[in-house]
């Protein structure tokens, strides 16, 4: 991992983030944050703390209201159609998956590949099938998203985010709606992506995930940060999180209420 961590994937200096629905409303302010290539970050925060808006800005889907933000070395203020190729190096998964309900799972996964490489559905079929197999989605491939459970919809959304083999993956609360078996699968799969998965050429992938429950993310190799009161607080590794005295962190760790308020 050491050679990949020499480059910076995310570099924010004094960045303020506006809300998606109303850009004039600032959800997070004065963020200074650097992520090296190959790192795995978990951004924790309570509901309505601005995690989704922060992650969308991080993906280059919104511009920062203030400050300087370089994503994979490109200043995001300049992001336009000419820089689309740069932005597609980043995969993004929404909290609810946001699959296209008129398309089947297979068509949902194939769409970015077909659109950006100008492939017919037949030409894209092999690559799509490989990813569907990898995600264990083949039995559900020809069903529309409304007819499958949240667990599988979330996995199909992950497949869609991965189809272009991105270098970085941003996931908005990916474990929020998952049952136990699926939760284990996700953690194993994200760890494999972080170490370097054959689907993405074996290179360690930079991962950033948001969460409103820190417990499933326990792990030595992940870094943590907290969004609270419109501020971004880097927390460090898991040991630092576990020993943090912040009441919000304790809440996100589901520490019994008596211990939080004493």
């Amino acid at each position: 991992m050491s050679d990949t961590q020499n480059t910076v994937a995310i570099e924010m200096r004094g960045v303020s983030v506006g809300a998606m629905r109303d850009i004039s409303f600032r959800v997070v302010e004065a963020v200074d944050w650097s992520v090296a290539t190959g790192e795995f970050w978990v951004i924790a925060g309570q509901q309505q703390s601005g995690k989704s808006d922060f992650l969308m800005m991080t993906a280059g889907l919104m511009m920062p209201v203030q400050g300087s933000y370089k994503l994979l070395g490109t200043e995001t203020q300049r992001f336009g159609e000419a820089e689309l190729a740069d932005r597609l190096r980043v995969g993004f998964m929404f909290e609810d998956g946001l699959l296209f309900h008129q398309l089947t799972i297979r068509e949902n996964v194939a769409l970015p590949l077909q659109y950006h490489r100008d492939l017919s559905s037949a030409a894209a079929a092999q690559e799509v099938q490989t990813l569907l197999d990898l995600m264990e989605l083949t039995p559900l491939a020809d069903i529309t998203p409304t007819n499958i459970s949240d667990n599988w919809r979330q996995r199909a959304a992950l497949a869609r985010a991965l189809i272009l083999r991105p270098e970085m993956l941003l996931l908005d609360n990916p474990l929020g709606r998952l049952g136990g078996r699926h939760l284990q699968w996700w953690l194993r799969f994200l760890n494999r992506l972080g170490r370097g998965h054959e689907w993405c050429g074996g290179k360690p992938m930079t991962l950033v995930a948001t969460t409103d429950d820190l417990r499933p993310w326990q792990g030595a190799h992940r870094k943590f940060a907290l969004l609270r009161d419109r501020k971004f607080f880097p927390l460090g590794l898991w040991d630092d999180v576990a020993s943090a005295g912040d009441p919000v962190v304790k809440e996100l760790l589901a520490v019994p209420v008596d211990e939080v308020v004493k």
């Binding site: 998606m20 629905r21 969308m56 993906a59 889907l61 992001f79 336009g80 159609e81 689309l84 932005r87 597609l88 993004f92 929404f94 609810d96 946001l98 699959l99 296209f100 309900h101 008129q102 769409l111 970015p112 077909q114 659109y115 950006h116 100008d118 492939l119 017919s120 559905s121 030409a123 869609r160």
Partner: protein
């Protein structure tokens, strides 16, 4: 791509204004309505120009994805409606001939049936009726589909994947509807002219098929063909713009979708009537 939709949002965000409390005096209410009307016109024009721009600028982008979608939309706004249009063509021929025969018989001018058919069916009723039927059958579906996709956040998902929503969702619908209305109008006119003679024959009008179709051919000029093509393409284009604009270009909530669908259909009818009026002027001055 991100710019396209963002531009549309800033130019067309009338929802906030619509949700504002109604003013208390009649003059304020009139001003409110007028302002809303102007905002809608501005939004529609902006959306139409953006769609045209994307259609031209991205004609070579992802043809393997967009062309099948255009074919799908032509099938939906054209081929799938053909059986209904054959029925309507029969009914239209009967309606026009039935009324015309009774009116012309009083003055002994039943030999003008063919010319009447050209004026009524080819120039006016055919295109307008075809546009209204496509608006009702396909336009409403557009608003509901796009409005639901917008409300569920699927448009943002498209942008996150680097797919231009105007290119992927709107361009195929606009092209499909323009071609669909044009083709269906041609079928409707041919069907209505044919059925018109059938009904005239059943009413014992002393007119041979040769005379009837000769009258039609003589009454038709090259301008009729050119203006018919332009008019039907314009109907299709504007219906698609109005329905797609209401479905996609404004931030929507799920509960807004049904209300927006009704508004889109009403505005679609108004736009078609305005376009038709413009073409009547063209007929009069050429």
């Amino acid at each position: 791509m991100r710019g396209n939709l963002a531009k549309t949002f800033t130019l067309t965000d009338t929802q906030l204004f619509r949700r504002a409390a109604l003013p208390k005096s009649y003059t304020d209410l009139l001003g409110h309505k007028l302002f809303l009307f102007l905002l809608t016109v501005q939004g529609l024009v902006a959306f139409a120009l953006i769609t045209l721009g994307v259609t031209l600028r991205k004609s070579g982008v992802a043809p393997n994805v967009i062309r099948p979608r255009i074919r799908q939309e032509i099938a939906r706004a054209g081929v799938a409606l053909l059986p209904m249009f054959l029925f309507v063509a029969l009914a239209l021929g009967f309606l026009v001939i039935g009324q015309t025969v009774s009116a012309l018989a009083r003055v002994g001018a039943t030999s003008y049936l063919g010319s009447t058919m050209v004026i009524v069916v080819v120039r006016e009723l055919g295109p307008l009726l075809a546009a209204m039927l496509v608006l009702a059958r396909v336009g409403t579906a557009h608003v509901i589909e796009l409005g639901t996709a917008r409300a569920l956040g699927e448009v943002e998902a498209l942008e996150a994947l680097g797919v231009d929503p105007v290119h992927y969702l709107i361009v195929p619908r606009v092209v499909g509807m323009a071609v669909g209305v044009f083709a269906l109008t041609v079928y409707l006119i041919i069907g209505a002219l044919g059925s018109g003679y059938l009904w005239a024959f059943l009413q014992d009008v002393p007119l041979t098929p040769g005379d009837y179709f000769k009258q039609i051919a003589e009454a038709l000029g090259w301008l009729d063909f050119a203006l018919l093509a332009l008019k039907t393409l314009a109907f299709g284009f504007f219906i698609a713009i109005v329905t797609c604009y209401h479905g996609l270009a404004q931030p929507l909530r799920l509960e807004d979708v049904s209300r927006v669908a009704v508004r889109a259909v009403t505005q679609g009818v108004i736009v078609c009537v305005l376009v038709d009026a413009l073409f009547i002027l063209l007929y009069l001055f050429t």
